[in-house]
């Protein structure tokens, strides 16, 4: 297992380098101009100078290698310095955003908490809701509970979040006035009442995303439980005289969770990727929103860095899912 993990990690290095190159080429091919958002009164020769100052005059391979050096060498060194208080020294150029001129990593660090709170919490909540629903739905297949649960999960799965989000805003912010329609990132939690305000502004974005996540996971859970409930070993457990609760929760659920765990692990990068649309609807300025703004502004370094981090997370969690599968299922052996 250890060797397998090491081998997979080593294999991931060329994969990721290739991914970063593809992203870079795609962005270069895209007809976006970082100066397009500037006022039209700026004369073309000044625009050209701005482009040159952003480094766009260099050939593409120079720009790519520069980004690689900044991202793979300079930024990790910075992080090490920051964490351990070392002074490695040297003049290191960081990956800078073209729009804000601030280092991209700093932008990400600023945006990450909002995304983790809203999107991460909705993911956790989605799992917590989905697992029991999936278990009960499967155990009482075709019962009323199952019918309603399956219907709701179909709705949650098929209705896009920009619809449910706006619907919730119309109902709870416009008509009822219970919750704010905009997520205020500057809000500080200092005491009980400000905590309540924070909870209030989180309820709508979190529940929109939780519905979507729960819908997906509960379907997997139900299907996996149904698979296992009819297995012979369940009958064996009953024949042993094991309590029904233990039959379902120990024998069936443990085996059913194996594929579901994989699905859950594979879904985690989406949490970091931010729910781009939902963040936009509720004005949560998380990573998803950062990506959207950067795309609109032709801010290549931000888009490049963010997209690459998503790719990194996807590769990482694929590996985690595979390793988890090996840990949970004794029939799987990697060597």
């Amino acid at each position: 297992m250890f060797n397998y993990t090491i081998r997979r990690s080593l294999l991931a290095v060329p994969t990721l380098l290739l991914i970063s190159l593809i992203i870079f080429l795609l962005l270069d091919l895209a007809p976006s101009d970082p100066t397009a958002n500037l006022p039209l009164t700026i004369p073309p020769e000044v625009r050209e100078k701005i482009r040159q100052s952003l480094g766009l005059g260099d050939p593409i391979y120079i720009r790519y290698i520069l980004w690689c050096k900044q991202f793979f060498i300079n930024e990790p060194l910075n992080i090490l310095e920051h964490i351990f208080g070392w002074q490695i020294g040297g003049d290191r150029l960081r990956v800078l955003s073209w729009q804000t001129r601030s280092p991209v990593v700093d932008l990400i660090v600023q945006r990450l908490p909002q995304t983790l709170w809203v999107v991460g919490l909705s993911y956790v909540l989605g799992i917590v809701i989905a697992v029991p629903i999936g278990v009960i739905s499967a155990y009482r297949q075709y019962s009323w509970f199952d019918q309603i649960g399956t219907f709701i999960s179909m709705v949650g799965f098929s209705v896009p979040t920009f619809f449910t989000g706006v619907l919730l805003i119309v109902i709870f912010s416009v008509w009822l006035g219970w919750f704010p329609s905009i997520y205020d990132t500057t809000h500080q939690v200092t005491d009980w009442s400000s905590f309540l305000v924070q909870v209030k502004q989180m309820i709508m974005p979190v529940s929109v995303l939780a519905l979507f996540n729960a819908a997906q996971i509960s379907r997997y859970m139900r299907a996996s439980m149904l698979d296992n409930l009819n297995q012979d070993y369940v009958r064996t457990a009953r024949a042993k005289g094991v309590r029904e609760r233990i039959v379902v929760l120990v024998h069936v659920l443990r085996n059913s969770l194996i594929p579901v765990t994989t699905v859950i692990a594979l879904g985690v990068p989406q949490v970091f990727g931010g729910a781009i649309i939902t963040e936009q609807v509720f004005k949560v300025n998380g990573l998803g929103q950062l990506l959207i703004i950067a795309i609109q502004g032709g801010d290549v370094p931000v888009v490049q860095t963010l997209t690459f981090i998503f790719a990194l997370l996807i590769v990482l969690f694929n590996l985690i899912a595979d390793v988890l599968y090996g840990v949970l299922d004794p029939r799987i052996r990697y060597d």
Binding site: D232, T236, R238, K240, V242, P330
Partner: protein, 330 residues
């Protein structure tokens, strides 16, 4: 044998297991699959009752219903004098140690995420309170009894061969010192060489612990080897029940005759001359059995009465029973 006959351990009376068929938009109940339809038999203490029949005739359903892994539609089951036909799950649990089952598919019937010692030990945890050292000692004892190496205790089922897995299943079934074991085609999924090993192990354990078996199989020669009495099933009903030697020497029911004629002879000269009884057609659907005798659609000796009146299951000699109009005056 005669003195054993006095003491039935398992009494089955009028056992019916019907599975409802739902169909249509509202999943209305439109009929039943009559998997087991009015089966009565007794299994005496210490004997092996073989239950044979073709696929889908309901033999496995009988086996599972006897130890109440299915809900009964009708009928009564007494094991060791206690009526378990309508006991609830909580009432049934303490009775489970006395009745156990060995399943057909040794791969699927073992939880893939439990080690051998966890599989064998689980019934001990549920029904007895042993100290950890007593528990492991008992697990080793059981593994010795079924011929499994003790060092396999911490392995998972997928690491074993089919025969070894079936030994795990047998050790598990033996864990609580049962009196009665339903063997549901325990050898059907095994190689022929392993089949003999497992059957010999079952016989050995029977002698050692005085076990009573309900041995379900479609393998007539294996039943001949292991069973004391044989019951033949067709389409949810028992058509013939007789001591082994009588049944194989002189099958009374036309279906039994047809079944036995399908067993190949080892002697090629004899085999070439032998008359086979070849049944025409297919088994009717158990959701819509024919009127009269269930076998009338395929019986080579069917008479008019067979299509109208269901034959009763009656004695046709010393300890022999059959359900056939031809035998009613015997």
């Amino acid at each position: 044998m005669a003195e054993l006959r006095q003491n039935p351990l398992v009494e089955i009376e009028g056992l019916k297991v019907h599975f409802p068929i739902h169909a249509g938009v509202f999943r209305r109940h439109i009929g039943d699959v009559k998997a087991v339809d009015d089966v009565s038999l007794q299994i005496y203490e210490g004997e092996t009752l073989g239950l044979v029949g073709e696929s889908g005739c309901g033999k496995s359903t009988v086996g599972r219903a006897v130890i109440r892994l299915y809900e009964l539609t009708d009928g009564h089951i007494k094991i060791d004098g206690r009526d378990i036909s309508h006991a609830g799950a909580d009432e049934l649990r303490p009775m489970r140690p006395a009745m156990q089952m060995i399943f057909q598919d040794p791969q699927a019937s073992l939880n893939p995420r439990m080690t051998v010692s966890a599989i064998i030990g689980e019934p001990l945890d549920e029904h007895q309170s042993l100290s950890p050292s007593e528990r492991i000692a008992r697990i080793y004892e059981l593994m010795d009894q079924v011929g499994l190496n003790r060092s396999f205790a911490n392995r998972y089922p997928h690491e074993f061969s089919g025969g070894q897995r079936q030994r795990i299943g047998i050790a598990r079934a033996l864990a609580l010192n049962p009196k009665f074991i339903v063997c549901d085609e325990p050898i059907a999924a095994l190689d022929v060489s392993i089949q003999a090993q497992v059957v010999n192990l079952l016989e050995e354990l029977q002698k050692k612990f005085g076990l009573t078996y309900l041995f379900i199989s479609h393998d007539l020669s294996m039943i001949r080897h292991i069973a004391d009495r044989v019951a033949v099933m067709y389409l949810g009903k028992i058509v013939e029940l007789a001591p082994r030697d009588d049944l194989y020497a002189d099958p009374a029911h036309p279906y039994t005759q047809a079944l036995l004629s399908a067993v190949p002879e080892p002697d090629p000269e004899h085999e070439a001359k032998r008359q086979h009884i070849i049944l025409e057609g297919d088994v009717p659907s158990p959701s819509n059995p024919p009127q009269g005798c269930n076998f009338c659609t395929r019986c080579p000796k069917a008479m008019d009465i067979c299509h109208e009146i269901e034959p009763s299951f009656h004695a046709v000699g010393d300890g022999r029973y059959a359900a056939c109009h031809l035998l009613e005056d015997r």
